[in-house]
Amino acid sequence: MKRKLFGKAVLILVCMLLLSGCWSRRELNELMIVLGVGMDWEDGEYVVSFQVVNPSEISTLNRSGQRPPTTLYQGRGKTAFEAARSVTAEAPRKVYLGHLQMYVIGEKLARRGISEFMDNTLRDNEMRMDFNLVIAKGMKAEDVLKLFTPLERLPTQNMLHSLKTSEKSWAPTVSVNVDDMLDMLSSEGNELAITGIHLLGSQKKAQHKENIETYQPSSRYRYTGIAVFKKDKLIGWLNEEESKGYSDITDKLDSTSLELPCGERTYIGIEIISSRSKIEMKIVDGKPEANVSIRTEANVVDRMCKDVDLRDPAVLERLQGEIVKVMKGHAEASVKKAKSLKSDVFGFGNKLGQGYPQYWERVKENWSDEGFPELKVSYHFEAFIRKTGTTGNTTMQ
């Protein structure tokens, strides 16, 4: 009897040992949830900025409104990890990276090369492989993260949403997550391209609450251009039209707007509703050739010229031809720019390697310096106008 009692007591004690919970448990109130990370290079050191949620400010119940919804913490160090850990010297809690959404890289650092500090990111177990990368165009990453934004209280949330929406419906932006980055940096014959972001207006006002108290925030962000990398170093930017061409060729374009000139400063507005592209590589006379074929569907959304009769099928036929011309112009411009930068961001080389592995083995050494700039690219575009909105021609004079 006594022994049984003793046994039970021991059992309860052992259970207590296990029931204390996880070894390394971290409750919500002990975490700093990081939404955005900014990486910069300053005086030979990495400067990492963490944009951290201010939990009391985003709760719907007791929001004081005194403090900003997020706070920025900064650390410096010789490695990305040292920089990150040195943050604890000023932050009350340890950072938690599981909810990271945006990783902003300063242009200066991007020009220096990104694979060195990205290694730490890939190694970390807390980070998931699904956050997006953007380049702070012509500015420091930390400035992008110090911004009061309207609508969404959390700036990174705001930026993430606009990145996704603009990729879907505006085209000159691409959302690249770490997984894609790793793919593009490791695969042969495919260079990295990441969307740029920069702040418009007064940077000084960006980090004050007054920024969102006016009708139009005096400082706001905007996605502009696509950064072209060679290996892991940024070497140039694509402008808006070239960026459109880029996302069109790489089949990232869903929907965008096109303007077909039809007179003095008058245009026919076209909405691209879907676009599918395919890159085919061939070898003709021992030289590679690329054929980009794109099939686009579009609607007419704006008619500024009265002499364009949208009721006439022949006119639509002509407009389709013009759409092809404009899109081809974008595509050619972006290929030309990439060729001048000697960076195969479209992955032509990669496609070549898939189709002709033996040939690729021979040319891959000099692909970006010789092969790609001399590559003959032909385009085969098709456009179909399906609808003209709710009206045909208007009666407006």
């Binding site: 070894w23 890939l122 699904d130 997984d179 793919d183 390697g353």
Partner: protein, 371 residues
């Protein structure tokens, strides 16, 4: 603790144990091992490994039938004589011990690198081994039933994983097929074969507990189902992750689960899905622990084996940490030496045993009934 001393398990339970054991830790390591050698042809490696895999199943089946309901150790002693038989048995035990160690270190390293970085490895192994020892003490019948219960859950979660990943499949990841010829796929195959199929030699230790005559069919089915699960995993890894992530990450299957994202609300499922490989690693470890304890008991002619469990558990705990002090050394062993180690103990040795049994049988037949 209720004991099922002479418990018997059904053919169905036996098959399920083989399936769970075949999947075992392989589901975690095979994607990265095969991708390291074969890149985008990793799935071909896995597919190829079915050929030697099923051949091995036939080998084990033949031995199992020849042993006539005796375990591997007892059977070897009986067939090969007291001295040589004991030597071979010792070799098998040596192998079981080392394989057991790789399993525990694999599991603890996975948990500490991927999910609980601040937890000491020892703590995880202690808890894990405690559960293994408890299961052993309940006996085969109890844990075979447990396997039968968990198997549908495993399959359900696995199907869940596949279905949720279907939208992210990219067929272009497969290209180019066999760009560098046949060799890389072949090298990857030898790893997939060793880790995936060879290690199931341990099933020969539970033969005495299996009710029913012919063991060939359950072994073949078990290998085939387990192999199919592994093949689907590798195939999905190639299709969804691509070779770069597969090669870079130690645990691509975990990243695979992280990839699940249905409409931005059904995501972050990895912890739930980690459950499926904890089940399989657990059963494989349990089988090895069972083989080790039973093997020692039979070899030493012990009447009771329970008193071996805790000391052996402690040995495993210490050795797991000592033998693989870091993930780098673990992967060095796994990539460079393990397939040969596996094939020596799981193919050459059993083949030798089978030949011996055949030769002895022929001698007995020709010499009349002398024994």
């Amino acid at each position: 603790m209720r004991k099922y001393e002479n418990g018997k398990i059904t053919i169905r339970q036996f098959t399920i144990l083989i399936v769970l054991g075949t999947i075992g830790d392989s589901i975690l390591v095979i994607p990265t091992l095969t991708a390291n050698f074969a890149k985008q042809d990793a799935w071909i490696s896995m597919l190829l490994s079915f050929v030697p895999g099923l051949a091995t199943a036939v080998l084990y089946g033949a031995i199992a039938n020849k042993l006539q309901g005796k375990g591997l150790i007892f059977g070897a002693q009986q067939a090969m004589g007291k001295w040589i038989g004991s030597l071979v048995s010792l070799l098998f035990l040596f192998y079981f011990f080392f394989c057991h160690i790789t399993l525990t270190s694999e599991m603890s390293q996975f948990l500490t690198t991927q999910m609980m970085p601040e937890t000491p490895v020892n703590a995880i192994i202690i808890v894990f081994m405690t559960v293994v020892i408890i299961a052993y003490r309940y006996g085969v019948e109890a844990f075979a039933r447990m396997g039968e219960l968990l198997f549908p859950i495993f399959m359900l979660l696995f199907a869940f994983l596949i279905v949720l990943l279907l939208p992210q499949i990219e067929m272009s990841n497969l290209k180019p097929i066999m760009a560098k010829g046949f060799m890389p796929a072949f090298e990857g195959m030898s790893h997939a074969y060793a880790v995936g199929f060879n290690e199931m030699i341990v099933l020969l230790m539970i033969i005495p507990r299996v009710a029913g005559g012919n063991k060939m069919k359950p072994i073949l089915t078990g290998f085939a189902i387990g192999g199919a699960v592994l093949f689907i995993t590798v195939f999905l890894c190639v299709l969804v992750l691509g070779t770069n992530l597969m090669e870079t990450k130690y645990y691509p299957t975990y990243v695979l689960a992280q990839k699940i994202n249905i409409g931005n609300f059904l995501e972050r499922m990895e912890a739930i899905l980690a459950f499926i490989w904890i089940i399989t690693v657990y059963f494989k470890t349990l089988l090895y622990f069972y083989a080790l304890v039973q093997g020692i008991a039979v070899l030493m002619r012990l009447k009771e084996s329970d008193m071996l469990t805790i000391p052996l558990g402690m040995l495993v705990l210490v050795c797991s940490v000592v033998v693989t002090p870091s993930t780098t050394s673990y992967y060095d062993i796994i990539e460079n030496y393990w397939p040969w180690f596996d094939q020596t103990f799981c193919v050459v040795l059993p083949l030798l045993l089978l030949c011996w049994i055949y030769a002895k049988g022929m001698k007995n037949n020709s010499g009349g009934n002398t024994s």
